[in-house]
């Protein structure tokens, strides 16, 4: 069923708040990855807060949907979503990158995390393994693998693209956060992805493409992907790195840069957040 306008507005408001909380969390330790956390915001928020069959009170439910954040550096946006789902108190966002707190990249000490992330590429085959095991168990659960576009440079991504098609993993959905910017520059400068949709198609995947900041479009594509039969689906979600903060948008400099106080104040002003939040 299509989302109501009210629900879309609610999810967009959640995204605005999550952006504020994530930038606040990254600002405090003067370390983290703002750009990719902001670009993946709607994708993660839609999946966790609207779509996935996942309940923190039944975290071990064998038939829960799984999400693997293969682009592990966007951990803060994952954490904010997990907190909203009730896996841990939202106050724990302030422990990001601190001793005993939330790790810079996801690990399984954090409730709700399904697979450690960090070394790029590796989360995707792990998600595939989940999908294969779930199929063996005849589980209806879906597995969502969230990939970065820079991450597509990794060879193992294409190994997995080949094998997921071989094993007809229609319960595996890859979503590429296609913000076109990686650490050293644009994807075109660093490693051109060329005909990205064509590449996935050639590997035997069903390819969907949408605006990755448009909740309604994401809802449509994910629903189509969920209904796939006989082949895995990839959603190429066109996004903007640093989305929501004008001076971060499209800038590779904000991939993994600490947020200085002045920039933080400006960002909070744009997002309607509080500097002392």
């Amino acid at each position: 069923m299509a989302l109501t306008a009210e629900r879309i507005a609610e999810l967009n408001e959640l995204c605005r708040r999550f952006r504020i909380d994530v930038l606040t969390a990254i600002h405090a330790p003067k370390s983290g990855h703002p750009g990719g956390s902001l670009s993946v915001c709607e994708i993660l928020t839609y999946l966790y807060q609207e779509h996935m069959n996942l309940d923190a009170n039944k975290a071990d439910d064998p038939d829960r949907d799984r999400l693997v954040l293969s682009k592990g550096h966007a951990a803060p946006m994952l954490y904010r979503n997990l907190a909203e789902k009730g896996f841990f108190p939202v106050e724990e966002m302030s422990t990001l990158r601190r001793m005993g707190g939330l790790a810079g990249h996801p690990n399984m000490h954090t409730p709700g995390v399904e697979m450690p992330g960090g070394p790029l590429g590796q989360g995707f085959p792990a998600a595939q393994g989940m999908a294969m095991a779930l199929k063996l168990n005849k589980s209806p659960a879906k597995v969502y693998a969230i990939l970065g576009d820079g991450e597509l440079d990794e060879g193992v991504i294409w190994e997995t693209a080949m094998s997921a098609a071989k094993f007809k993993l229609d319960n595996l959905i890859a979503i590429v956060d296609y913000n076109k910017v990686q650490l050293d520059g644009t994807t075109d400068e660093v490693m051109p992805l060329g005909d990205l949709a064509g590449k996935w198609e050639a590997f035997g995947w069903t390819v969907l493409e949408c605006d990755g900041h448009d909740i309604e479009a994401l809802d449509f594509c994910v629903s189509v992907a969920d209904a796939a039969v006989g082949a895995p689906t990839v959603i190429i979600a066109n996004t903007i790195k640093g989305k929501g903060v004008s001076f971060m948008e499209g800038k590779n400099a904000w991939h993994g840069k600490a947020i200085d106080d002045e920039s933080f104040a400006k960002a909070m002003e744009e997002l309607g957040g509080e500097v002392n939040a």
Partner: protein
Amino acid sequence: MPKAIREVYGTVLAELGDINEDIVVLDADLSGSTKSAIFGKAHPERFFNMGIAEQNMVATAAGMSTVGKIPFVNTFTVFLTSLGLLSARDQICYANLNVKFGGAYCGMSDALDGASHHATEDIAIMRALPNMKVIVPSDAASTRWATKYAVDNYGPMYLRLSRDVYPDLYTEETRFELGKGAVVREGSDVTVIACGLLVHKAMEAAEALAGKGVSVRVVDMYSIKPIDRELIIKCARETGAIVCAEEHNIFGGLGSAVSEVLAYEGCGVPTEFVGIQDTFTESAPYNELLAKYGVDADGVIAGVEKVLKRKK
């Protein structure tokens, strides 16, 4: 006629698969060599050929384990512990996942294929990973035990398996234990602490040395991590000299693991290291390689003679 270690492993895995439906087996287009194909034939629905994509294979196993499966990943030892290392470290060991590594062609057992296919640093690599357990079977019975142990006990585990046939050392009644070694020959002048093939070479060496009046104790240290600290200390105190023997680089493997215990406990005794002397190997028939690189009975004898000269 004893079967090759890889053959024993594949057969046992298939048998265990009959009674445990959680076992899944993955291979990277070498199942005919690693013998994981025996499982594949018996349980085709739980066997996955991942193609020549070791990184993909190991990380896929990581994901499967989170859904409750007991994945065994298989390929040549050298590829498993190099290409498979990233997931072994950052997913399987970091998250303490229940994945089992079957390294099929350890040491120089894939002799003719040459240095690229020889695994001479795998123990060092796998031993350095937190949560990883390292087992080196030395015959059919210990291979059977290790494979079953891996199924029955949770956590990442590395089985260092040989392409080759090892003579029988134990019986089906022998009791093995993780973290224990076995004294397979008593002796009082020196202890050879060995694993895998070198246990057999040490037995040959001990027999030859007995004829020269030297009493050699031989320990099969089949559990390398955790290691049998008590037994190492006991051997150091009782025999006063140790020779470590392994089909592996002398750095980072069994010899290092034994030395760590001796140093920590402050009971260091003269120790010699029989193994590949920090060099790359080459293509040749297996026995010629073992002789050239000093990992045969003569190599052990030379090690014993050297250490006895240094023994106080």
